[in-house]
């Protein structure tokens, strides 16, 4: 099979590297290189293993279970399972939408994603395939599915026994995830008229407050826009745009607003928000019909909707809710049955039928539900009564994932002070565990929502529609600044809405880094939440900052599967700016990125297995990722030891000699406690060996300033990043030289303001840092 790739490549004059379509062991040496510097840190979520029926087994204190596995290896295995689950979610999505689009547009439909030649950087780096048509993507998916099956096989009892090899498999799974995501987005961008590397992608209305509940409201939840486009077409073809509201939750919402906007058209839908808004939206009683597709859809949608007489339509084999398959029925019959509540919903896998049923049913249900006088949230008067029911047992707070102060709100509620419920609103991720916990059956979540109606009505913002990948010309323009560090770095804010302290934190982080000229890249739920806040001038950050791939710009690449464009960007810098061969040449590309591209991923509210696989895919490329404190429950971090000098050395590719490098990034995957801690971490971990003096100076300045601003002190380790006096922040150069002399014993030539001795690293712009011996001169 690999032979065929090389043959095709030869015909096209493309050079194929050593590892097209790598198997599990294909990049193991590279993984071992990374893992020797960044050690796995295991924080089990459970001390037991319940995989097979020898068990369950108690593995505490790294004991062995009945199959001989120890805690360390099992934790790595648990992590691998999460990663391949995430990768499968994306790959499954990709395969589904690819089937669907090939069915509609044929195998020969060209891939069109903007003004790029390197249109599938992840795919090409991994598989060696340069896809040109939808049909070409099928072979890519075959490879991903084969490898995921191999990885899932290793989860079985009695397979891998070594934590380190599970770790290598984790990185393999993460890499596959980015290929699966890329295929998904390439296919849909090409066929569904989505923006193509467009810095001027339109702004989209977002927030619960932007929904006009006086109209029929059709709400779509999920990640896979395939069927939703038929609904949008129907609404458009029948001129229903003004007669109803079409709004989405989660990434389907993002992709709805990308649909048919590549020619400057207006987005045809609104975004409600993230997974954290799902239950709140349903409980509001506003939706007249709910359509779900796949991924990040609450499992209780049908139950919750049923209580409020909202019909639910499932449209994807991954979520069917036990509903009857009506795919071969007429729209009229289905609408009749659902509007008379014969059944609480239907499974419709035929998207033409779906396209008609969903909007028509919404229009019909709107009247019916109004006449029924559906009552959703408690009335003003009830809030006090409900508060009084509370016996202050603390069950809700014990069960709340963030242990929020609910009892306090109840106490105040007795005195008709509901402000404390309002305080909870933004911090609450609307998981509903409080409701489940309350022995008095108090609808805690509904009380929070009711008390926050004023806030919710004001939840109106703007999000830039997902622009797709960064184009080759953009890379050509900005690549050099990234590699030299004069653009201080890329901060990619991705992932879900499981924030430790509310959604506003995202805004704070993005604004701070944008002001400092970092490129901030958004995707998925984070991209949505960022659009919910406005500055003093009433502007969202999407309005405040431009959206090119340039320092100080704010980019939304798109939905969850668009995350592949973030890694794709790094690969493109290596391929286009540095002219490295891409095809099947993953290790060299990853090595280049590791040493030269200052990018950090942040998944501050990460909750999902997909976030774990996305992060692992970044990690294999040497891109570090920080997750919020809930991320500690991913069980496994990759953290280096800055105090172990031997770990921070690379080869100089010019002659294969060893050279010391700064301990940055310090980790590949870790957590932070608060955004105050996060901000200086971001700056510090954008430092790379390849920084020139100007670049290092800029990065160090931000690191030191952010430490001062958010942690109230100058960081202890700032001097370790100094190679020469020109690396020092200009404004404080003299002061810092004094400290270097006094506290660290460095020798300073005060006349010329030069460092004579002290630094462990030399400043040599022409050095070529690499972790891979074979890439050194005279090696191969």
């Amino acid at each position: 099979i690999v032979g065929a790739i090389e043959k095709k490549a030869k015909e096209e004059g493309v050079e194929v590297g050593p590892t097209p379509k790598p198997g599990i062991s294909g990049l193991r040496d590279w993984d071992y290189t990374l893992l020797s510097r960044y050690q796995p840190v295991y924080t089990p979520v459970c001390d037991q293993c319940c995989y097979c029926t020898f068990g369950k087994c108690d593995l505490s204190n790294n004991k062995e279970g009945a199959c001989g596995i120890n805690m360390e290896a099992h934790q790595a295995r648990e992590t691998l399972l999460r990663v391949i689950t995430g990768a499968a979610a994306h790959a499954g999505h990709g395969r589904h939408i690819l089937h669907h689009l090939i069915h509609l547009y044929g195998e020969d439909k060209p891939i069109e994603v903007g003004p790029s030649n390197l249109i599938a950087p992840n795919t090409q780096a991994v598989t060696g395939i340069k896809p040109e048509t939808l049909g070409d993507l099928e072979e890519v998916m075959d490879y991903v599915e084969e490898q995921l099956t191999q990885l899932l096989a290793t989860i079985h009892a009695g397979q891998e026994g070594a934590a380190i090899d599970f770790e290598s498999k984790i990185l393999h799974g993460g890499m596959l995830d980015h290929v699966g995501m890329e295929v998904s987005d390439l296919a849909q961008i090409s066929c569904l008229g989505m923006p193509k590397s467009d810095p001027e992608a339109p702004l989209v209305e977002i927030g619960m407050g932007c929904i006009d509940s006086s109209k029929p409201v059709l709400v779509v939840i999920g990640h896979n826009v395939a069927g939703v486009t038929n609904i949008m077409d129907y609404i458009h073809d029948h001129g229903l745009e003004d007669k109803m509201e079409l709004a989405g939750l989660c990434c389907t919402a993002i992709d709805m607003t990308r649909y048919q906007t590549d020619q400057g058209q207006k987005p045809q839908a609104k975004v409600i928000g993230t997974l954290a808004k799902e239950l709140k939206m349903i409980r509001s009683g506003v939706p007249d019909v709910i359509v779900v597709d796949e991924q990040c859809v609450r499992a209780d949608v049908l139950d919750e909707a049923k209580k409020l007489s909202i019909p639910v339509i499932t449209t994807n084999e991954k979520i069917m809710y036990g509903l009857r398959n009506r795919s071969n029925d007429s729209a009229a019959n289905i609408i009749e049955d659902l509007s008379t509540f014969k059944e609480p919903g239907a499974l419709i896998l035929d998207f033409d039928v779906l396209g008609e049923v969903a909007p028509e049913l919404a229009i019909k249900m709107s009247k019916i539900r109004e006449e029924m006088g559906i009552k959703a949230l408690p009335g003003d008067d009830e809030l006090q009564e409900l508060s009084a029911k509370c016996v202050q047992c603390g069950a809700c707070e014990m069960d709340c994932p963030d242990n929020l102060p609910i009892m306090e709100a109840m106490r105040a509620g007795v005195d008709k002070d509901f402000s404390k419920f309002e305080y909870l609103h933004d911090k609450c991720i609307a998981c509903g565990r409080c409701d489940q916990a309350c022995p008095k059956d108090i609808p805690v979540l509904n009380m929070i929502e009711k008390a926050s109606q004023k806030l919710i009505r004001e939840e109106k913002g703007l999000m830039r529609a997902g622009r797709g990948q960064i184009s080759d010309p953009e890379i050509r323009e900005e690549g050099v600044n990234l590699v030299l560090g004069t653009t201080p770095g890329i901060v990619a804010m991705v992932g879900c809405s499981n924030y430790p302290d509310g959604t506003r934190d995202l805004y704070t982080v993005a604004d701070e880094m944008l002001k400092r000229n970092y490129i901030v890249v958004m995707s998925g739920c984070s991209a949505m939440d960022l659009g919910m806040y406005k500055n003093e001038d009433g502007e969202t950050l999407y309005e405040k900052y431009p959206a090119k791939f340039l320092a100080g710009n704010l980019i939304n690449v798109g939905s969850c599967v668009s995350n592949s464009h973030i890694t794709g960007t790094a690969i493109k810098v290596a391929a286009i700016f540095a002219q490295r061969n891409v095809s099947g040449n993953y290790e060299e590309i990853a090595d280049y990125i590791t040493n030269r591209i200052g990018a950090v991923g942040v998944a501050w509210g990460a909750y999902s297995q997909k976030a774990a696989s996305i992060a692992s895919g970044c990690n294999r490329l040497g891109i570090p990722v920080v997750v919020g404190p809930h991320g500690s429950k991913y069980r496994r971090a990759l953290i280096g030891k800055p105090y172990q000098e031997d770990d921070w050395k690379v080869y100089d590719a010019r002659d294969g000699s060893e050279m010391p490098i700064p301990a940055a990034p310090e980790f590949l995957l870790t957590t932070a406690e608060s955004i105050e801690e996060l901000l200086p971490m971001l700056a510090k971990n954008c430092i790379r060996p390849s920084d020139n003096n100007m670049g290092r100076m800029i990065k160090l300045t931000h690191y030191m300033e952010l430490s001062q601003k958010y942690l109230g002190h100058r960081p202890d380790d700032w001097y370790k990043f100094v190679r020469t006096e020109t690396d020092l922040p200009l404004a404080k150069r003299e002061e810092l030289l004094k400290i270097l002399e006094a506290d660290h014993g460095w020798e300073i030539d005060w006349k010329r303001k030069k460092i004579l001795s002290g630094p462990t690293m030399k400043s040599d712009v022409s050095s070529q840092p690499t972790n891979v011996k074979r890439l050194c001169k005279g090696e191969c």
Partner: protein
């Protein structure tokens, strides 16, 4: 005498190894006896000025301080030698016999925790519990089941009292 051992209710279990509930006086004596204790202070102390005071009081009794998150903002000029470190990294380094510690004086034997989010600290402790021999003592408002020893779940006012008693026993 405050009894901090009564309420050890938890939401979820890890397995059969659970923290022993401990009273303030016992916890205090254990820290006093420790060869090389370390107090790890989380950002949650910033939510209550009184907690900051008590944390500083403990430090003043000679317990070295690792400040995680942004707790350092309240400890930086208090002349207690508090050093910032990320708590996840700290969990990693604590298990390394070759780590010189925050002050270069070598690794620690008994770790005291205060001011952390329950779910976050329990994860860090899960790592320490399963992969090191360290003794960990949580003097938090909530029962931290993955510590070696922990206060139970306490009412705010009882908690402050317990901390006072703990300090008295240092």
């Amino acid at each position: 005498m405050v009894d901090t051992t009564k309420n050890t209710q938890i939401y979820a279990t890890w397995g059969r190894n659970v923290a022993k509930p401990v009273n303030p006086n016992v916890a205090g004596k254990l820290i006093t006896k420790a060869k090389r204790p370390l107090m790890v202070v989380g950002s949650e102390i910033l939510k209550d000025e009184k907690l900051v005071e008590k944390t500083i009081a403990i430090a003043r009794k000679g317990v070295p301080v690792a400040a995680t998150g942004h707790s350092i903002t309240a400890l930086v000029d208090k002349d207690i030698g508090a050093k910032y470190i990320n708590v996840h990294s700290l969990g990693h380094f604590l298990g390394d016999k070759n780590w010189g510690g925050l002050d270069g004086q070598g690794s620690y034997d008994t770790i005291l925790f205060i001011g952390h989010k329950k779910y976050y600290l329990n994860q860090v402790l899960a790592g320490i519990k399963n992969f090191t021999d360290l003794k960990t003592i949580a003097i938090e408002r909530n029962f931290m089941q993955n510590a070696t020893l922990s206060f139970g779940n306490l009412k705010p006012e009882v908690y402050l009292e317990a901390l006072d008693e703990f300090i008295d026993n240092l």
